[in-house]
Symmetry: C2
Subunit: 430 residues, 2 copies
């Protein structure tokens, strides 16, 4: 199923989708050559926004937690992609430890872990699941309603190695973004392969670095396929020192908001977009939707209420937020039964394995859909993203998903460049 | 859909399937390590026989021509596997030429070519189709009933390069097994990647070399997983100089038949199989089902009729047959609506991408189903072969297909060893 695009202004997007369709072999070759130079992250998910006039990634997650939302049909594809990833990162591996995020009370997250364990087992690995929760002192068996069960074990240190119980893994797969910092138990474990690397965690990662790399990738791609890079690239600006409470550094934020809006207005005129531009202000580090603000002018920033300031000043993890990113707001014009929908594309290694729509009944098209406490309904993509149908119209499901897969893979490329640049061990990249 | 197993004696097979299910992570790791040492053929299909008491490959084809018989569902999986293969063999490639077999008049073969072109295009290649038919002087457009069309072009030489028209491919993918020999137009084209290599063609290849390598692989696998290798390995013997017309070399053939039958009788006793053993005599080179003989005793060989001798003496390609292989007959005990069925597993690179049943209404369980002129009905496997269901019974579809995928991949490994050993340039293997 493909959501309905409610905007009348889908000319530029249809044109873009048509370009992608026509140029499919060239696009796939372009990616093939790019990947000769780069190593993709083990896994990745990208939130996209389809505005009708623009299709762009707005968030790239290196610790994806919603694999369970993918269609059952894509399991074989995911297994095959995971085989490629394991081959690349840990070809000899026998045991793999998945480190879970601290939200095991959520049924959907438990199912995500089961999904990962099932897929990784098929690549030839014994898989166990560990938790960093200091309150967990011994193995815990969690029964799921459908008869399946999950055993979660406290992650410990055995000398230089990360272990659970007697299980000594060659590979540790993080499914926790470590936004509160890298815990001692994971540090200096040089004998084991930790995936993604620790510098991919939100204790190091910055959205601005990612979108800076994305900008380069988008420009290179746009040049190769003669499209306007703006059609796939969300504008942004970042500020390193903002104190929302004392207003220190507010000038930088205001300048950023104005600069992003200025560029948007110019592009909106060019493409005859009549929407009112908005920008999103969010923490430069961290994935959760806390402290995400949608503003339409510099005055909106000046006039933030005390409550809004308080919300912005502290991340969900309780840590103060001083580094922020101002990102072009890309409205989502896809709806399902009048509810706003946003595509999320899942990748393993360099392959798109599927995706789903995050459908949100209580939010508007200009709002952040990944909001804490808010429910969303996942709607798996009806088909894989690697099989466009040249005979069909550009807006048909297989082709829409193909376009999503192309843009998501640009974000994946950006993530690989970002991880190279931020790697503390630069000797790896000649 | 899974065909019905009509034999009462499926104990050993169920036991084998159970072993495969339990040991899945170890089996997948075993393959992962094996592939670190080997390069898989670009593509491959394997005919299996499921006897209820034994599951074994009986033929391994390095120029598979029935991709169109696979389920639509496996297309994304095939594309992803083909991406891996292209990455390995010809990462820079822009253009690929598929060389078609000389049976373009067959609708199903045309569809096989369309399938290949579609999948390869998605890996980032411009694909064109060439023919070696000397009667083809210019490009020919073939319209298919369903509105699709195919353009086939005469393969020519442009200096050191194999070309069609102005199209100068980096890579040439053979879909013709060249059983009549390697034509001049393909020789000494060292600037281009030819896949599979010319020594994979039936002008060089021998079934006995393949099954010799398979025997080693099967023994290694059986040792690792503590099973009797006979359960997955068809016995064989080969004779290099048999003249069916003059009876020169008949002694070798008779000795081979007796030796294979002797071993079968002993194993049949061990597993309490009450079937009467039979062996298959076929040309050691060549894939087509011409001159395939099913015999139950050495006397059957001595008493061959003049007509049978004539049939055996010449291959379908008109070349004399003097090298023969005597292979253990593995009866197929799968039936669909009382018609005999035989699984065929398709692989790209090291991945199983799907399979189908060759269903034959007019043949018995002890006969060769891949027979010229005989019609068969392909029945695509209902699920991929990489996703067993540990909760389900060993004989359920997903698990049966997984077992097929395991045995087929053993044959794939054997093919890669065979191609290494027969490579004229041994300097590649240190």
């Amino acid at each position: 199923m493909v959501p309905h695009l409610v905007t009348a202004l889908k000319g530029p997007l249809l044109e873009l989708e048509r370009r992608f369709l026509e140029a499919t072999p060239q696009i796939e070759r372009w990616f093939r050559l790019e990947w000769q130079e780069r190593t993709p992250p083990f896994y990745c998910s990208t939130d996209l926004r389809n505005a009708g006039f623009k299709l762009a990634p707005v968030d790239t997650n290196l610790f994806p937690g919603g694999f369970n939302n993918l269609s059952e049909q894509v399991l074989p594809l995911a297994i095959q992609a995971a085989m490629v990833a394991v081959d690349k990162y840990c070809p000899e591996a026998r045991n793999l430890l998945v480190i879970a995020e601290d939200r095991l009370e959520q049924l959907d997250y438990r199912q995500n872990l089961l999904w990962l364990a099932k897929v990784l087992r098929q690549t030839g690995l014994e898989v166990r699941i560990g938790s960093l929760d200091p309150a967990l002192e011994q193995s815990q068996r969690i029964d799921l309603a459908d008869g399946q069960m999950l055993v979660v074990e406290p992650v410990r240190r055995h000398g230089r190695r990360i272990v659970v119980d007697e299980f000594n893994p060659c590979t540790v797969l993080l499914n926790d973004d470590l936004s509160q910092g890298v815990p001692q138990v994971l540090r200096n474990a040089h004998e084991q392969t930790v995936l993604p690397p620790l510098h991919a965690s939100w204790s190091v990662r910055r959205k601005s670095t990612h979108f800076g790399a994305y900008r380069e990738v988008a420009r290179r791609f746009a040049k190769a396929f003669q499209i306007d890079p703006w059609l796939i690239d969300p504008g942004f600006s970042s500020c390193g020192q903002v104190d929302f409470t004392s207003r220190d550094g507010e000038d930088c934020l205001i300048a950023g908001v104005e600069s992003v809006l200025r560029q948007m207005r110019s592009k909106y005129r060019e493409y005859k977009v009549t929407e009112k531009p908005f920008v999103i202000i969010k923490a430069d580090a961290g994935t959760r939707g806390m402290g995400v603000l949608s503003v339409r002018s510099a005055d909106d920033v000046r006039n933030l209420s005390a409550a809004q300031r308080e919300l912005m000043a502290v991340g969900e993890d309780g840590l103060p937020v001083t580094e922020v990113i101002v990102q072009e707001g890309v409205p989502t014009f896809e709806t399902i039964n009048d509810a706003v929908a946003e595509p999320v594309v899942y990748m393993i290694d360099r392959y798109v394995v599927g995706g789903f729509y995050r459908v949100h009944a209580e939010r508007g098209p200009n709002e952040n859909l990944n909001a804490p406490g808010m429910r969303f309904v996942p709607l798996p993509f009806a088909s894989s993203c690697n099989l466009p149908d040249a005979q069909a119209l550009p807006e048909e499901a297989a082709n829409r998903f193909y376009a999503y897969g192309v843009v998501a893979r640009l974000a994946l490329l950006a993530a690989s460049i970002e991880l190279e640049r931020t790697d503390p061990d630069q000797s790896l990249y000649g």
